[in-house]
């Protein structure tokens, strides 16, 4: 028996969400009294792979010929390693959302996504997950002997540990029914799903020319920039910055909403953040009901002051 974790990398680098999945899987392995094995897909250095040992993995299988975006190939490689696994852990990334359901069908194992805690029972496996756009917590039971668990990003945290890691290379090569023609990513920008802090602007900012202060604040805080739906619909900011129900989901440590009233559709996409700050001229703005901290005031006065104050402590 073992616990298996899919350790996703981006251009040969792991991210915080990967180490979070390993930490979670390691805690699960302890619960079951067994070892943790990781699977890595794509080109990656041994130095990078070794970092998995710091979070509790005892072995990693590195299949460098497999492209993770090819869901069929990725699924069959992970399935090959899953014979012995009682629990298979993913972080709920875009790619994992393609692979974990496929794996569930291929191996006929119950899969649960958006999981926020380590299992409260292992036979049968019972976990808590977020549902109804974080308006409820669902307790779910897995009916199959084995289970696939995808954890909600930033819900569990990192747990460091000491240990030795064995690296095993796999030269397996498979190909599914799609061809990947390349990726387009905004270079030098912090991605919204990975950012610990997100600074977001709404219609209260009155026009795209006023985003300078949002970007300055974000730079100071090493944060990603985001916007509300109306702002991307009017074209003040790119659609890739739209956060909320139909846009990207945010689960940051700190979410700062500037000039965003807080429509329920917006809150549904950002309310997984740990701390939320609202800055708005309207004291009746619904965001103040969801926020932890708030300032009723004009963004054009408050944000420059905020920038000044943060400079003092940085």
């Amino acid at each position: 028996m073992s616990v298996l974790v899919y350790t996703e990398s981006w251009d040969g680098k792991f991210r915080k969400s990967t180490f979070e999945a390993v930490s979670y899987a390691s805690e699960t392995a302890k619960l079951l009294g067994t070892d943790l094995v990781a699977v890595s897909l794509g080109e990656i250095s041994n130095d990078e792979l070794n970092k998995l040992g710091n979070y509790g993995a005892s072995k990693v299988i590195s299949a460098s010929n497999i492209i993770k975006g090819d869901g069929q190939a990725a699924t069959s490689v992970i399935a090959e390693q899953a014979n012995d696994a009682k629990v298979i852990v993913f972080s709920n990334t875009y790619t994992a959302k393609m692979i974990a359901p496929r794996l569930s069908a291929k191996l006929k194992i119950g899969a649960i996504s958006n999981v926020i805690e380590v299992a409260t029972s292992t036979t049968p496996l019972i976990v808590k997950r977020k549902a109804f756009s974080s308006k409820a917590i669902e307790i779910v039971k897995v009916n199959s002997e084995k289970a696939i668990i995808s954890i909600a990003p930033n819900s569990f945290g990192l747990i460091k540990t000491e240990g030795t890691l064995t690296i095993e290379n796999s030269d397996t090569s498979e190909k599914g029914g799609i061809t990947i023609k390349g990726q387009e990513t905004a270079s030098g920008k912090i991605s919204i799903s990975e950012a610990e802090i997100v600074v977001s602007g709404g219609r209260g900012l009155k026009g795209p020319e006023n985003w300078g202060m949002i970007e300055e604040l974000a730079d100071l805080l090493v944060a990603a920039t985001a916007c509300s739906k109306p702002v991307s619909d009017i074209g003040w900011r790119p659609h890739s910055e739209h956060v909320g129900q139909t846009g990207k989901a945010v689960a940051a440590d700190l979410y700062i909403a500037i000039g965003i009233s807080g429509a329920i559709q917006h809150l549904a996409g950002v309310n997984s953040s740990k701390v939320m700050v609202a800055i708005n001229t309207d004291p009746e703005a619904p965001f103040f009901k969801a926020a932890d901290y708030g300032i009723v005031g004009d963004a054009f006065e408050v944000v420059p002051k905020l920038i000044e104050e943060i400079k003092k402590i940085r």
Partner: protein, 248 residues
């Protein structure tokens, strides 16, 4: 071109989410149900593709009779036919299994699901369905252009997008970007009238076997009231974020 769009009937985003019987069941009382927003992007894209290539758009839902309202709405928007599998959808695997059974007898060129439903947020039906049918699955798909049997697709990835080509048939998990928000269609009177005479077929489920089951629901812990800081005292906000919340 045969396009099948999997539709989920979900509580409207503004609905209050409550549970009955000690948290064991969702309380549908007074809740308005709508087409899952991610599915609506997919349905609109299906209509646009059909207008170019010709063919048929079928919507399929797994659910009891209460889901028929959103199915009729899909027909009013322009789908040609609707299929309801008469089973309460309680688990992604059994839901996908029923749809796969239907598709094995009624093959489709493109199968569209939403990226996730806004009620259970499982996000798994599309992927399970694709694996059951040995088809490619492009999730969080935000672009699809068809020329003959080849499609150019884009999918959202962390921090950007990935460009993909695939041959028909395939499954996509749709979202905004497939079509623009402004392109979503509102049913007109003619559509609503026509929808009444379009076929809505009801199929009994083949098996009800699920791999997961819901035990109960809880409401999240209520947040404390927002701490308001005076607009003239921005330093206090920074102090709270640094020393109380410890996030900067």
């Amino acid at each position: 071109m045969n396009i099948v769009v999997c539709i989920s009937s979900v509580p409207d985003t503004t609905a209050k989410i409550n549970f009955t019987d000690n948290g064991s069941n969702f309380d549908a009382n007074g809740v308005q149900f709508v087409i899952n927003p991610y599915d609506e992007f997919g349905l609109t894209k299906a209509m646009m593709l059909k207008e170019v290539t010709g063919g048929k758009v079928t919507v399929i839902t797994v659910g009891d009779a209460t889901v028929e309202a959103v199915m009729r709405k899909s027909l009013a928007i322009g789908a040609d036919a609707a299929v309801r599998i008469n089973m309460n959808a309680t688990d992604s695997y059994s839901t996908a299994n029923e749809i796969a059974n239907y598709l094995s007898n009624n093959p489709a060129d493109i199968i569209i699901t939403g990226r996730e439903s806004i009620d259970y947020n499982g996000g798994a039906v599309g992927g399970i369905l694709a694996e059951m049918m040995s088809l490619p699955f492009i999730n969080a798909c935000n672009g699809l252009e068809l020329s003959g049997n080849t499609a150019k697709l884009t999918r959202e990835i962390d921090g950007g997008k990935e460009n993909i080509t695939a041959e028909l048939p395939f499954v996509i998990g749709g979202q905004k970007g497939l079509v623009l928000e402004s392109e979503l269609r509102i049913p007109n009177m003619r559509g609503i009238m026509q929808a009444r005479s379009k076929p809505l077929e009801i199929i009994e489920p083949s098996s009800k076997e699920g791999l997961t089951s819901s035990v109960s629901f809880e409401k999240p812990v209520e947040k404390e009231a927002c701490k308001l800081v005076d607009a003239d005292n921005v330093a206090e906000l920074v102090n709270l974020l640094q020393n109380e919340a410890k996030v900067i």
